[in-house]
Symmetry: C2
Subunit: 266 residues, 2 copies
DNA sequence: CTCCGGTAAGTAAGTACTTACTTTTAATCA
DNA sequence: TGATTAAAAGTAAGTACTTACTTACCGGAG
């Protein structure tokens, strides 16, 4: 008993503002969702108890179940609140919208560096500003909840099509060499996402690499772009590898045409 | 139930006649560890019950606690069995050893492509041959268990030093441009690990990219290497970014420690 | 008064872990 | 050889506690 004194101030009848006394239903609902999201992201869905959520929200456990029929329901509320947002597909988010406009503008100019680093920076900023969401997503993927699938379809697939078709276009324009665009997208997003995950999840104490988001975005962009630009000596020639390496483009295009690599039904 | 007939035939120490139920202690211990590892990797440590482990091992729950004092103990047995193995640091593993020899040989020859694709291929093969371990690691990192930290220190740190110092050496030799080697390692491992995680964890149905480990290793290697090789027109010139991009090397070299000329061997 | 946000005190089904007991195995000894 | 014995593999049925979820009842604002 009286365990909630620490957090909620126990409705504190004192004249001062009671921090979490009585809330309107919708307000309380929001608060529970946000507390639950934090805890799910820390301990996973299975690893979080409704009692913990209640304690952190400063209410009794029964309140949770007044607002949400089941724990699973609470999870779905989080999805509704979060799943669709946060990626390039998020039209509602004004920040993401401005990034999209900026990136699409760079696309029109053919400024590959601005395109890639714009995307990378927007992803990294999102990851770092909302690390809980990254953890939530990872847990969701491991635990097999639908948040992961939803995020994948709503954001990742969109990004692959968006970036992939841009790369294809630039290849037709002769600016980029012939590599499977899907491989390039995977490589690029791999750098970015792995960097975020690493610095948020693993590399916290004694970090191997400390770099600002801006610098990281610039470096990654530079590596990938140099990696896929047509070289000085291969402007008009057949797309061949140099320096005695295997002509790696051949294989990739083969695996592309051979089956269902990358390109979907369209 | 004859659930236990599936795994681990019989005890075999004395003349046959073991009715497939009873095992020698060490054998049973091993079996429990392997069952637990599978379940932990599927549902996480918190999400797996000792009852489930017992059922899948075909014994009663009490047997688990005869072999392992606590559930946590069982987790530590998994660490002992798995944590140190599986990376470049694993000297016991003959396969990893041969890869290491191969890669070090390529390093001596200065064959950058063989170095990078050898490392990438070995990582990817390991991920795909033991996907449980990848999931276990991710769960471990999220749940804050020490397996993650141990793996990080024993494998990731080693790889960063190993690859990083090679890149630094090749930069001194004038073969690679001046980027922070740590950034390059992060970019490269990011491609590889993200690709593994993506294809194992997320991209299972309707995959965005289907590519063999060999092709992926070659493509990633090609992108990164072209990305960090000195360009045709910048052999002797000061290392500057081109195409109007910022000179991204500035920051990176600062954190690197500004390597002097001093060519080693090639 | 009467909603309605809030609580205390449940419940049944888990949870990790234990106890008390039986069966199998293999070495020992009359 | 074959009965004796002790240790180890195994089990059924617990214990104390936690879990998601319920029920019955407050009390202050409109």
């Amino acid at each position: 008993m009286s365990r909630q004194t620490e957090e909620a101030g126990r409705t504190a009848p004192a004249a001062g503002a009671s921090p979490a006394g009585r809330m309107a239903a919708e307000e309380r609902r929001q608060q529970i969702v946000s507390v639950a999201m934090r805890l799910f992201s820390e301990r996973g869905f299975r690893g979080t108890t409704t009692k913990e959520i209640a304690r952190d929200a400063g209410v009794s456990e029964a309140i949770i179940f007044r607002h949400f029929a089941t724990k699973e329901d609470l999870y779905h509320a989080i999805i509704d609140c979060k799943a669709c947002r946060g990626g390039m597909a998020d039209m509602q988010n004004p920040v993401a919208e401005s990034v999209r406009v900026e990136v699409e503008d760079a696309m029109r100019r053919g400024d590959d560096r601005a395109v890639l680093s714009g995307i990378a920076l927007s992803m990294m900023r999102h990851h770092h500003s909302d690390p809980d969401f990254l953890r939530l997503l990872l847990y969701s993927a491991l635990e097999g909840h639908q948040l992961a699938q939803m995020f994948w379809d709503l954001n990742v697939r969109v990004l692959y099509e968006f970036l992939g078709s841009y790369i294809r276009e630039r290849q037709r324009a002769g600016a980029l060499r012939e590599v499977d665009p899907t491989v390039v997208v995977r490589a690029f997003t791999g750098m970015v996402i792995h960097h975020s995950i690493t610095s948020i999840l693993w590399d916290t104490k004694r970090p191997l690499l400390v770099v600002s988001n801006e610098d990281a975005a610039r470096e990654f962009t530079e590596i990938v772009l140099r990696g896929i630009e047509v070289g000085a000596g291969e402007r008009e020639a057949a797309p061949k590898g140099r320096k005695g390496a295997r002509p790696s483009t051949r294989r990739a295009r083969k695996s592309n045409g051979q089956g269902r690599a990358g390109v979907k039904k369209s």
